[in-house]
Symmetry: C2
Subunit: 283 residues, 2 copies
Amino acid sequence: MKRPSLADPKRLSLNTATTRGRWGLAEAIEGCARHGIAGIAPWRDLLADMGVDKAARAIRAHGLTVTGLCRGGMFPAASARARKLAIEDNLRAIDDARTLDAQCLVLVVGGMPEGSRDLEGAREQVLDGIVAILPHAKAAHIPLAIEPLHPMYAADRACVNTLSQALDLCDSLDRRQTGALGVAVDVYHVWWDPDLEAQIERAGRKRLLAYHICDWLVPTKDLLMDRGMMGDGVIDLKRIRGSMVEAGYSGFHEVEIFSKENWWKRDPDDVLRMCKARYRAAS
Amino acid sequence: MKRPSLADPKRLSLNTATTRGRWGLAEAIEGCARHGIAGIAPWRDLLADMGVDKAARAIRAHGLTVTGLCRGGMFPAASARARKLAIEDNLRAIDDARTLDAQCLVLVVGGMPEGSRDLEGAREQVLDGIVAILPHAKAAHIPLAIEPLHPMYAADRACVNTLSQALDLCDSLDRRQTGALGVAVDVYHVWWDPDLEAQIERAGRKRLLAYHICDWLVPTKDLLMDRGMMGDGVIDLKRIRGSMVEAGYSGFHEVEIFSKENWWKRDPDDVLRMCKARYRAAS
């Protein structure tokens, strides 16, 4: 396999989950600019706090690229009314992504409604949800990036759990690969998959809309909030990046680290410095 | 899909992990006999404590079936010497399984050696390990049951993480389906897999060597020790059992619950009563 040279520092992006609880969006935008990080991926709660128009102006003023808006999705629900509300929320997310000129809207599709054991039914509701929002996303020129989540989140966060499954959805809804529908590859969720390289290759340039990096720690102490900094865990990041590049991906590397007991406790400027260093050395 | 009627109580088995810390193997054997549970699956630490011959006699005296010995595997290691030791340990496990007249030896194949990021290499070492022990297992008439573990254990416990991957191993090492090599299907590890039903069907009667039940709790508070009792979580157990039966499985249902903060704190007799009740009502 061809090994790309050192990660290009101009291709680094900060997902605001990485500085959660420390920085609002305005501070994160300024932080990225200060540290020469060219991309940013805001979460919607921070975006709402700052205001979308104000955020868009600040992002443009600093010349940052929005590598993705986190997040749409969360489609399954117990009632038709709740599913309709979820779709309306996704339509608003698409509008916000448009205002930010985001490269994609990331879809964390949702798990089973409370009390349900119908995983297949939830998966059908996800399909229906994407069908319902895809025309609006196309009209807004916002690609939808389905993010398969680690199987440990299948019950309550996302019932799309492998790249293969996400790509099957893409193929069924966007057979001609228009660019309107693709995947977000987050190493944390997919690194274990025996089929990973083949599915990245299958996805190809047109489906690979985002690439998220962090690391898997051993031991992992919390299912949600114990992700590692690149290089501190067991994921062969360079190998996966190689597969992405081979498959035609030339976009940003977005650092997304949920880390309640470690990185979220540190000075965010230190965290950004470490992101840059590890991105170069270990990704 | 054909729905089998109520689970047959004569097909229940107790994996001794379910009463860990409370009962030694002698007590577990007597507990099963007392509660009319016809199967037992001992872990090797308890077996060593009791002594294999003594355990075999007690199990026979109570007319119990050993539905599996837990566990062999753990093949990958950083040095050739350590890999050789692992293989020798597996050969002893096969002998113990033979002494117990166990229906299979469960293989938890192992993760990456400490400090390694070479998941593919670990998977190759697993293949090599099974190759090394399969002749002895055949000679002893002990089927090897590869247990795919949940992807959240890929790094440190088992780098075989889907039924598909386990069956690929079976096909490459036992193409003619002699019965010497198959899989242990544990709902906790595989329930999320979009490909589960297809792979159970692919496995068929000759590869389906064991069936382990418990439940996936929401939220799950610990990656290892927070499994739920059947019916307390989100797994559609009846559906999966239906798939197993459709595919030709007619063996035991083995209850294996790691539960540090709940079931391990309770009176094991109460736990066994609950296992029986939930096996009937929710599995």
